[in-house]
């Protein structure tokens, strides 16, 4: 996956970090200190769609099958999407002042790719 550096317009991962202290959420979120709200942006030219390793999805497999049969789905647009997500563990207070530790799947975008 590419990292956005301001020089490329291709599909890449834009890092975005939110410090819970800066938004006044550190009174109820004990850990972690912030959230990596990374997201995907950029264009997906035809040659990038379904590049092995960039996005292994069911949709990619279907599009590749079309290609192999010489049927180029020219009208089919490729999307820049998260291709690898990770779980985030959070420790926080709820409304009842209980301490909750929760593992939330698919919270952090680790990689982006075209699909």
């Amino acid at each position: 996956g590419l990292e956005c550096d301001g020089r490329t317009s291709l599909c890449c991962r834009q890092q975005f970090y939110i410090d819970f202290g800066l938004i006044g959420w550190n009174d109820w979120i004990i850990a972690p200190k912030g959230y990596y709200g990374n997201y995907c942006e950029g264009s997906c030219p035809a040659y990038m769609a379904g590049v092995p390793g960039s996005a292994s999805s069911f949709h990619t497999a279907v599009v590749n099958q079309y290609r192999m049969r010489g049927l180029s789905p020219g009208s089919m647009n490729s999307c820049c999407i998260p291709t690898k997500l990770s779980t985030m563990s959070m420790l926080y207070f709820d409304d009842e002042y209980n301490i909750v530790k929760r593992d939330v799947p698919n919270m952090i975008v680790e990689e982006c790719g075209c699909a």
């Binding site: 990770s86 709820d94 209980n98 530790k101 593992d103």
Partner: protein, 244 residues
């Protein structure tokens, strides 16, 4: 991007303002996203802090490991080394609830817990344990002597005067310390009924004879405040799948 002549101060602040507006909107979207994933409508209103002593004690008892600084989950592999797990497919929760007591409670042995069912989602309680601290007051020449007491935890339905026994445990005490009492079924039943308050009564048989006392809710002893640890997962995902 390097500023051009077109973006001088005389052009007004349209562009930066728009950028700020986009940032604020994006930030709000991310905040909403976090609350949605935690099944919360709004952020909790924290009006008074939990005593630090109680919090530190409870956090040390957390079952499911620590939270990394960046929030990513660490699960020890077979070699005992921590690895980052990208494939935790279900949402698991661990809830620590601190004991409260009614000021008007007729009995000093009564306490209650408010256990949130987190946005009314179906939670399957895999384990729930009550943690109680027992203080031993050894008299002269009695240090290191084992004392056996029987602790009974009773459940009480809200508004009802009747109680029924949930746990009976023989506890052997050599020195002061924490002891756990399983309440899995009681907490599961509480959440299934859609209720959140669990009243308990703790009785200790033989404690007075051997100078032992369970510490209940006492503002002067927050470090030993009783608490309940509930491990739960979403009811629709009964199997934990992990890819290593």
């Amino acid at each position: 991007q390097a500023p051009t002549q077109d973006t001088c101060t005389s052009c007004g602040l349209g562009q930066p303002e728009e950028s700020v507006r986009m940032d604020v909107e994006f930030l709000e979207a991310v905040k909403r996203h976090i609350l949605n994933r935690l099944h919360m409508r709004d952020r909790p209103n924290i009006t008074h802090p939990i005593p630090k002593a109680a919090m530190v004690t409870a956090l040390r008892k957390l079952h499911a490991g620590k939270v990394r600084e960046d929030g990513r989950v660490e699960i020890p592999n077979l070699d005992g080394q921590a690895t980052s797990d990208h494939e935790v497919l279900e949402q698991t929760s661990e809830i620590i609830s601190f004991a409260e007591s009614d000021e008007l409670a007729s009995s000093k042995t009564s306490l209650y817990f408010l256990v949130s069912n987190e946005g009314n989602q179906n939670l399957f309680v895999s384990q729930a344990n009550l943690w109680l601290y027992f203080k031993v007051f050894p008299s002269n020449g009695e240090k290191g002597v084992r004392r056996k007491v029987t602790v009974k935890v009773y459940l009480q339905e809200a508004g009802a005067s009747s109680t029924w026994s949930a746990v009976e445990k023989r506890v052997e005490l050599k020195r002061s310390g924490w002891h756990t009492f399983p309440l899995t079924q009681a907490i599961q039943a509480l959440l299934e009924k859609g209720e959140r308050r669990q009243n308990l009564e703790v009785r200790c048989e033989g404690c007075q004879d051997v100078v032992v006392t369970p510490v209940l809710v006492n503002p002067d002893d927050e470090a030993h405040r009783p608490f309940l640890v509930v491990q739960a997962r979403a009811a629709n995902s009964k199997h934990r799948i992990r890819k290593r």
